[in-house]
Symmetry: C2
Subunit: 350 residues, 2 copies
Amino acid sequence: MTAKQPGSKGRSTRGITLVDVARLAGVAPMTVSRYLNAPDAVREETRLKIQQAIVQTGYVQNRLASSLASNRSRLVAVVLPMVTNPLFSDTFQAINERLMQAGYQVLLGVSGYQSEQEQHLLDVILSRRPDGIILTGTLHTQASRARLRAAAVPVVETWDLTDDPIDMLVGFSHERVGSEVAQRLLRLGYRRFALLAVDDPRGLRRAQSLLDALTQAGIGDVQQQIFAGLPTLEQGRRGLAALLENDWPTPQTPPLMVVCTSDTLAHGVLTEAAARGLPVPERLGVMGFGDMNFASHTFPALSTVRIDGAQLGACAADLLLRRLQQPEQVAEIVDIGFSLIERQSTRAVF
Amino acid sequence: MTAKQPGSKGRSTRGITLVDVARLAGVAPMTVSRYLNAPDAVREETRLKIQQAIVQTGYVQNRLASSLASNRSRLVAVVLPMVTNPLFSDTFQAINERLMQAGYQVLLGVSGYQSEQEQHLLDVILSRRPDGIILTGTLHTQASRARLRAAAVPVVETWDLTDDPIDMLVGFSHERVGSEVAQRLLRLGYRRFALLAVDDPRGLRRAQSLLDALTQAGIGDVQQQIFAGLPTLEQGRRGLAALLENDWPTPQTPPLMVVCTSDTLAHGVLTEAAARGLPVPERLGVMGFGDMNFASHTFPALSTVRIDGAQLGACAADLLLRRLQQPEQVAEIVDIGFSLIERQSTRAVF
DNA sequence: ATGAAAGCGCTAACAT
DNA sequence: ATGTTAGCGCTTTCAT
C-alpha cells in the first residue's frame, strides 16, 4: 500500500513490479529478471533475498511485458474444429499436458467446420504472437495457409496427411482407413453395405474411399445416410431407422453391414438395433471409427478403427517443442497409422 | 525485406509494426492505433489510407504490446478440471463462443481434480494478466483463493453454489439435487437403492445428500460403488456387475434402483443390464446425472437430472463481460437450477 | 555474478 | 481529427 509518486505524465499506479521486488531485495531489476529466468545464474545468497522479497510482496511476473521484450510469448495456439467433439479430446488433453510441462500455455481457437471466419480467427491468434500453432485438421482457404506461412511461426497440422503441409504434420491417411475397412469387411464375408456419416471433411474422405473400394469389388448399391453436424447417439439411431425403412434384414437375407464414420454414430446404431430387436451381429453388422473409450464396452462390443488420439497429441506437442528448442530442425511428417479392431459387432457367421 | 538500420544498441529486426504502417500511410502511429481500436474516431479518408497500408504490409497487431500499454489483455482464463469430461464441454463451448464474440480470447488452464499444483497453475495464469477468470468448480486451497482475491481480477466460479464465493458465481445446489432425487424416487415407489459414483468432489456431495435423505426415510442399507477417475461406460458396467454380485434382483424382489452420479456411468449400467438380460425398468431402475446428449436416446431412455451446461456457460460469460464493461457491478450469484427428467429407466410398476 | 542503458510495440494523456 | 510525448514492465546487450 505504499503510495508511489506518480511521474509528471505517469499513469495511475498498477500492481507490484519486478522493480519493486528488486528495490526490496536490494538488487538491480536485472538480477531479479535473471532469478526468474535462470536462477542458476544468481548467487545463492542473492537468490534468497529475492525469493523473500517475492513472497513478501506477492509478486507475479508480468508475461505480457516479458514476452514483448524477449520476443517469446511461451504461448501455443491450439485450434480445434469444435470443443465438443470427443474424438479430439484425448489429443487436446495430451497436447496441453506436454506443453504445460514444458512451460507453455495453450491459447484456444475454435474454427468451426466452415471456413468463413477462418482468416479472422487466424489474425486474432497471430496477434498474440504465439511461439507455435497446432491445428486440428488443416486450414481450408489458401489465403489462410499463405498468411500462416508468412508469419514464420512453427505450425503442426494434425489428424490428417495432406500433400502440401504448411510445416510439420502428424496424422494418418483417411483414404487408407476407408479402403482397408472395405477390404477387411469383404474378407469377413459381408456383401451388403450401408454408410452412415456426418459431414466433416475427413470423415467424408474415409467414406468416399470406402465406397470406391466397394465399387471396385463390384458392390455399387450402398445405401447412404449423411447428416450435418456433430456425430451423436441420436443421429446414429435415426440413421439406422432410416436405412431400415427400405431394407429390413430378414433371417433369409445376408447380414447388412453398417459402416459409420464415428463410434458415436455406431453406438447409436447398436442402440436402435437393440430397441428394434434386430440381432447384432447375426443380421446387422456395425463398424465404427475412433475406438473411443466406450467402444469395447458397448453391447455387443463395437468393431472399429483405432486411432491413438493421445499419442497423436503427444507427438504433435513434441514435434513443436523440439522445433522451439532447435529452430534448424527440418519439418517432419509423421504417420501415426491406425489399426482395425475386430470385436463382436462384425462377427456374423456366413 | 527492407533492411532497417539497427540502432546503436538495437536488437535484430522483427516483423512489421504499427510504425511501419503509419509511415506507409503517411500518418502518425497514434492514428493507426486509433484506427485499430476505434475506427470511428478516424476520418474516412485516413481510414482508407491505413487500411491499404495494412493490407500492403500484411500487418498483424501485436497484442502483447497493446495489452502491456493499455493494461487490458482481452484474455480470459478458463480453468477446467479435465478437458475430457464431456459434462463440461457444452459449458466450455458456450463460454468460448460468447467471449470470442466480445473480442476476448480464451487461455486454457487444466487443474486436475487434485489441488497439488493449483497454486502454480494460478500463478501461470495470473502472469498473463487475464481480464477475467472463469473457474469450473472452485479452487481447493484457501491460499489459492486468497491469492486470487488479492489479484483483484474478476472471477466467476461455476457448477457450484458455495458459501463464500471469491467473486461471482453461477451454479446450482448439488445438495438439493441429491435430496430431490431421493424424494422423487421414493415417491415413485422405490425402496431398494444402490449408489454408483466417481470421486469428484461435487458428485460425492450429491451422493452424500442422497444417502442422507434415504436414511431419513428409513433406508440405511444402500450398497455403494465409488471409483477413482473419470466416469466411463466401462466403470458403469463394472459397477453394476459388482453390485449384482451380492444382490441379484429376482422377479420376487422389488426392483433395485441404481443411482449414478453421471449419465455416462448410468449408460454403462444400462449396457451391463442388457448384456445380462436383466430387464430395465422391470427389475432394475437407473438414474443418471447431467442429461447429456445421449441420455434421451439410450435403450431404455435414461431418467436423469438435467443441467443446462450451455446456459450455465453463457451465463458465466455474460456475468464476466458485464463486469468488464461496468466494473462497479456487484458480484452476482446465479442459481441456474436443475430439473428431474423421468424417462423409461425409472418406470417400474409397483 | 551483477548492473546500467536502451528499447520491445503499443497506448494514455495531453496537446493542437 | 490528428499529433507528441512518455512510459507500460520487462529483457537484450554490453560493461564491470
